[in-house]
Subunit: 394 residues, 2 copies
């Protein structure tokens, strides 16, 4: 009696659930400390101290009604102004509160964007490997996700194939950099070329094509690598940002959308996104954490913790003969599996109590994602098992 | 370049926006204290002190990662257990955490329910007058909202017409009691009869029909009037609850769904609602406020404040010759307009700086909604204008 669309979703998710259950089963047998769960992209670094201080300050200085009450569906005006100014300071943009809509995390923001833009059968292009939820987000509004195959040399987008896949039905392109699952940052060169292709195709087809930039990992970039701000290269950009990783607040569901005034149909997009926020049932981003986020725009989680994990895991796996690109951001390593069938590899790993996600979940078979947002000790303890796994296969 | 569906939404919402802008314009000319804005259902009573205490306690006793991290999409297990027990204590039900999914307010919960249940063209029945957002919530999943015309004698549902409107395509019925906009509580007799009709029709058509009970106002019942718990009368019930009004936390977006184990296809509904929570982009209800809600299940806003407003406004308007049912719950008065065209009446009221919502927004023309969640003083100051308005019309 559930809907046909949800029947498919329930069926698909039972695979993931099975893996989750298997993890619990292994933990029951061997003890949680002896199961190496690299399957979840769940921040393990504490929120910065500023978060707690911000909550306490707000509770002390504001009237309860002003902390927990309704506001405009787009969010508090002062919060949006503060965020706009912060982006302007960092990237030399010229946003105001009228370019910002507070969202229920990036997931909520992306749903609002797709609800705003998509007619049934509109196409949205993404580059494999990609965050698997895009399939559902686009399907929610009866759009079609078009996948550009991976460039496994450096995991920058495959722009030649991209060019060929743009059609008059292409309504949007969604990118995610730093990328889940590869950790790769799309270079300035990539963004410049991608923008040129989009402008060319807009002209050719007489259409507007929006570049949606999904940015939950923007602040998680190592070695001071720059993450280009896409609206500076392409006017029809819409950005979906989240504080989930930058402040380790994934449970609080707080983020924002940016729609530049230069974007085609800007006024209608802002109006529609505002209404979509309401009618999809978000109504508004959680109110207390709107204020907390505004107070913590310069606070950062301990990136060094993730960086240590990255170095340890990357060096270890490379030494054992695993092949992967050294990630520049996020907290994932995307590793080529020493046997072709990566699902089989995941099963072999599971026998050593290592839990991984197969690359097919991200549209890129032959690889696995290792989420290293775990304790340093977990990586130390897991490395010998990775080594043994490689030796076994060889 | 926005979607066709959203174009319609933007167009419709411009009427409401015009009213909102008019309110701001009037406030600019006459001063905010001389504009009587009865148009917004925004709680004006402070959250109970327990809310602040709960936040402080949680910040002190829990690790940050446990407060702000991810959890199961359905919400924290201990929170769901506490809520289930609280419902059981109050209503003699037998729920466990497996019957509860935490939601982003009632709006988020209802979207999750409709996403879970509706195939395109499925029908959802509601009783006028009804909360206008149901139109959008059902349309989001391509369902059809079927409206039973109002019973203006006592604003209990018109069950004769209801019976006729149930078809094999009826997937659900949505009720809202205490009701927005009438403040009427559906009686036990109503719920019993409604349940009988549903069971009869399920048998006749060989279908399952879900009764969705939208309950943001459950705790706002005056004179100890009982609000029947619908799952006790009808197995195929799904409840959408919100803490927005009971704890005056509308901005925090916290509520829950209840799916009784007896409901048809219970297991699939729970699985699908869990996934729908994720793929619609809610991911989970805001984490800190899940814990806050669980600690404040017995806390209550100052109902007496709303009650004083109710008495003052109801007595005043009745004395001037306005006709309305004395509301038993929520914070709305639904008043028959002394002239037939209620939009015209709203315009006359606006000339006296009184802002109201026309009944047509709730599928019930010839009436206006007065939201009395305002300062007592606002009602005192507005009453002479209501009197003058009636005299003018006569």
């Amino acid at each position: 009696m559930i809907s046909e669309k949800m029947k498919v979703q329930v069926q698909n998710s039972s695979v993931i659930r099975a893996m989750f259950e298997e993890g619990k089963r292994l933990a029951g047998i061997y003890g949680a400390e002896n199961v190496f769960d690299f399957s979840l992209g769940n921040p393990n670094v504490e929120p910065p101290e500023e978060v707690k201080q911000a909550i306490l300050e707000i509770l002390q200085s504001e009237k309860s009604m002003n902390i927990h009450g309704y506001m405009n569906n787009s969010g508090y005006e002062d919060v949006r102004t503060t965020i706009a100014q912060s982006i302007n300071d960092k990237f030399g943009t010229a946003f105001t509160q009228n370019n910002i809509i507070m969202s229920v995390g990036a997931g909520g923001g992306l749903n609002v964007i797709f609800k705003t833009l998509l007619n049934p059968e509109d196409q949205v292009i993404t580059f494999a490997p990609f965050f698997g939820e895009y399939r559902s987000y686009v399907a929610n509004y009866d759009g079609e996700l078009v996948i550009v195959s991976p460039n496994t040399v450096d995991f920058q987008p495959n722009l030649e194939e991209f060019k060929e896949k743009i059609t008059p039905k292409t309504k949007a392109v969604i990118i995610n950099s730093p990328n889940n699952p590869t950790g790769v940052i799309y270079s300035e060169e990539t963004i410049v070329k991608l923008s040129e292709i989009l402008r060319e195709k807009e002209k050719e087809f007489g259409t507007d094509i929006y570049l949606i930039s999904d940015e939950p990992y923007r602040e998680l970039a190592y070695d001071n690598t720059e993450v280009p701000y896409p609206s500076k290269y392409y006017a029809n950009t819409i950005i979906g940002y989240s504080f989930s990783k930058s402040l380790s607040l994934p449970g609080e569901r707080i983020g924002y959308i940016v729609v530049p005034s230069e974007a085609a149909d800007y006024e209608n997009i802002i109006s529609a996104a505002n209404i979509a926020t309401r009618i999809l049932g978000f109504v508004n981003a959680p109110s207390l954490f709107q204020r907390v986020a505004a107070k913590c725009l310069n606070a950062k989680v301990d990136l060094e913790g993730y960086n240590r994990n990255r170095e340890l895991l990357y060096k270890g796996l490379s030494a054992y003969g695993y092949q992967c690109i050294k990630p520049e951001g996020a907290f994932y390593l995307f590793v080529k599996t020493p046997i072709e069938n990566e699902v089989e590899f995941c099963n072999l790993a599971k026998k050593k109590n290592i839990l991984l996600v197969p690359g097919s979940a991200f549209g890129c078979p032959g690889y696995v994602r290792i989420a290293y947002c775990v304790a340093y000790k977990t990586i130390e303890k897991a490395l010998p098992s990775f080594k043994a796994l490689m030796e076994e296969i060889r």
